[in-house]
């Protein structure tokens, strides 16, 4: 008797939590059902059809996916995308963390630095990219001017296929302000008491970082890595403007900056193959989803939430 009431009591509570939870997330649920679900499902349907954007889609089953498996250009674009994810995203996050750590010390003029480091992210993508193509111009660009002054070799940033991706990555460092600011904010939350205690115990700065700082900001790292992965796999605007503004065809010299999303865009709107492009999108979805799940699963080992029970 007592057991069953206890059981039903806990069931009742679980149900109550469910309703309350659903109530809180209801604006998102509403958005999902009304604004998101239909377009998402439509694209899933397109991926199984031949669709030229104007006519009516023709069912082709998994043909698009089969063709995609043999598409050399798709692999090239995926390679380019993975390249900037590995050599762009992770170094950029690390760089932002270093800057944030420096800014988190009691340095004078903190707010001035903060403004400066955030400044580039305020410049709109169009202006930012134009500016960079300008700076990277092999002859009268500022960067090669400086490199020449230092007697360093001046690469042909925009035209040499070996240097186009590094150019974009370099440009990416300039935009790490948001990441820096977020890390800086997370650092404000690290209890100072811990550092004091560690100092008394004679901990080295490196030990302090690994044992106090890193765990404390790990929820932010998780956020930045996951959002960075998602964003990096959809890398589009900069690469697109970069080639276009240089009078090159989409994809740049020897397709060295043909990224997955750019190839997808071209396939959909220039080649009018929306079915194929949708299949590409869903393949990307699966790749990113798996990566995200892996990161989340490992996060139990390295992410610590202050609010965890």
């Amino acid at each position: 008797m007592a057991a069953t009431t206890l059981q039903s009591e806990s069931k009742r509570r679980a149900r109550k939590r469910l309703y309350t939870g659903l109530l809180f997330i209801s604006p998102w649920l509403f958005g999902l059902l009304v604004f998101q679900l239909l377009p998402i499902m439509t694209s899933l349907y397109y991926s199984l059809t031949d669709f030229n954007l104007f006519g009516s889609p023709e069912w082709v089953g998994v043909d698009n996916f089969v063709a995609l498996a043999h598409d050399k250009k798709m692999y090239l674009s995926l390679y380019n995308t993975i390249f900037i994810t590995i050599f762009g995203l992770f170094p950029q996050i690390a760089f932002a963390l270093v800057i944030a750590l420096l800014l988190n010390r009691d340095v004078k003029g903190k707010s001035l630095y903060r403004t400066i480091y955030f400044l580039p992210t305020l410049v709109p993508a169009i202006a930012g990219s134009l500016l960079w193509m300008w700076l990277l111009n092999a002859q009268y660009g500022l960067i090669n001017e400086v490199l020449g002054y230092l007697h360093l070799p001046a690469p042909n940033w925009l035209l040499d296929p070996k240097w186009t991706k590094p150019s974009l990555i370099l440009m990416g460092f300039w935009g790490t302000g948001t990441t820096t600011i977020m890390y800086l904010a997370a650092l404000q939350d690290v209890p100072k008491l811990y550092y004091e205690a560690a100092s008394i115990d004679g901990a080295s700065p490196w030990q302090k970082f690994w044992n106090i700082t890193f765990p404390a900001i790990s929820p932010m790292t998780l956020f930045l890595v996951i959002m960075g992965l998602i964003g990096s796999f959809q890398y589009f605007s900069q690469g697109y403007i970069f080639a276009d503004g240089n009078g090159q065809a989409i994809g740049g010299p020897e397709n060295s900056i043909l990224f997955y999303a750019i190839y997808l865009y071209q396939t959909a709107f220039s080649f009018l193959k929306m079915g194929y492009a949708s299949a590409m999108a869903w393949v990307l979805f699966v790749i990113v989803f798996i990566l995200t799940i892996i990161v989340f699963k490992t996060s139990a080992k390295w992410v610590y939430y202050g609010g965890e029970k």
């Binding site: 509403f30 439509t42 004078k108 707010s111 300039w174 979805f285 939430y305 609010g307």
Partner: protein, 297 residues
């Protein structure tokens, strides 16, 4: 928040012998400043370059070797830029879209983030992954179905597709995930004790968590503003009427097919950027302390 470090710092300083530690502190400070200044200049340079370029003649812009400072400041580029497009109108249009977007985002996001972080209900993780999944599909393939939907709602050529997308579109996942990460960091004891006192989740949310979340809300508000300010594709696709256009569409006017008006383009880009720099300057303090919300050390 800032009261804490000032209390602790003198205490720490007193501990070891003054001269040795003092020298180390100074050395560390010089080191930190040196790096910050060098990198800071690298970050500042392109922006300064933008501003200087906007004050040059076209001849000076392309001179080899680089001309660092114009012979005569070409303020004309600015008057040209302003007369080429209706700057004030486009600015107001952009601000209207940005403000409406912010309004919805700051109400919706913390609520949803609260549900995803502090209420332990069945299926929560499943729904959370669905939400994350919605931003993993590239927008290129949902763009047309979304356009079709807004067209059926008869909202084309109005700002509503832009505003509603910011409230209910997939982009919400970014904000929710960010705020969730902070809510997860707030000690559970806070809400547990309130629960024992008989407070409902809604009361805990409005009276305990929300006051702590103000800075986080400011953050997503600012991000939303920046997003709306820089968005080009959205306004271009949904707004037909030139009366309704935004600044980012205006900026495109300078990129002509045959001849780019470089001076005015750079002037316009500067004008495009400066309002948000000023806005950022005013909110940056709150904004940074901002994202950190637990507020308890």
């Amino acid at each position: 928040m800032s009261a804490n470090p000032t209390q602790t710092v003198p205490h720490v300083r007193k501990l070891p012998t003054r001269s040795k530690a003092g020298r180390r502190v100074i050395r560390e400070k010089i080191f930190a400043h040196t790096i910050l200044i060098i990198v800071g200049l690298l970050f500042l340079a392109p922006f300064i370059w933008l501003v200087i370029t906007s004050l040059k003649t076209e001849n000076e812009i392309f001179t080899v070797p680089i001309k660092w400072w114009p012979d005569e400041l070409q303020w004309k580029n600015y008057s040209d830029a302003i007369s080429m497009i209706p700057f004030v109108k486009y600015t107001l249009n952009t601000i209207l879209i940005a403000l409406l977007s912010i309004l919805g985002v700051v109400i919706i996001t913390p609520m949803v983030a609260y549900g995803f972080s502090r209420i332990d209900f069945k299926g929560r993780n499943f729904l959370f992954f669905i939400m994350m999944g919605t931003i993993m599909l590239p927008f290129q393939v949902t763009m047309i179905p979304i356009y079709v939907m807004f067209n059926k709602m008869n909202l084309i050529n109005s700002i509503w597709p832009l505003v509603l997308s910011s409230w209910f579109g997939t982009g919400i996942a970014y904000n929710v995930f960010l705020v969730r990460q902070f809510f997860m960091g707030i000690p559970h004891e806070l809400s547990e004790s309130a629960k024992i006192d008989g407070a409902s989740e809604f009361r805990i949310y409005t009276q305990i968590i929300m006051p702590l979340a103000k800075p986080a809300v400011l953050t997503i508000g600012l991000f939303t503003f920046l997003g709306a300010w820089g968005d080009f594709q959205g306004p271009l696709i949904y707004l037909n009427d030139p009366e309704k256009w935004t600044l980012s569409i205006g900026l495109k006017q300078f990129l002509r097919e045959n001849r780019v008006a470089w001076g005015p383009l750079m002037a316009a880009a500067t004008l495009f950027t400066i309002p948000i720099v000023i806005l950022y300057f005013f909110v940056q303090r709150k904004f940074i302390e901002g994202i950190s919300i637990t507020g308890m050390k």
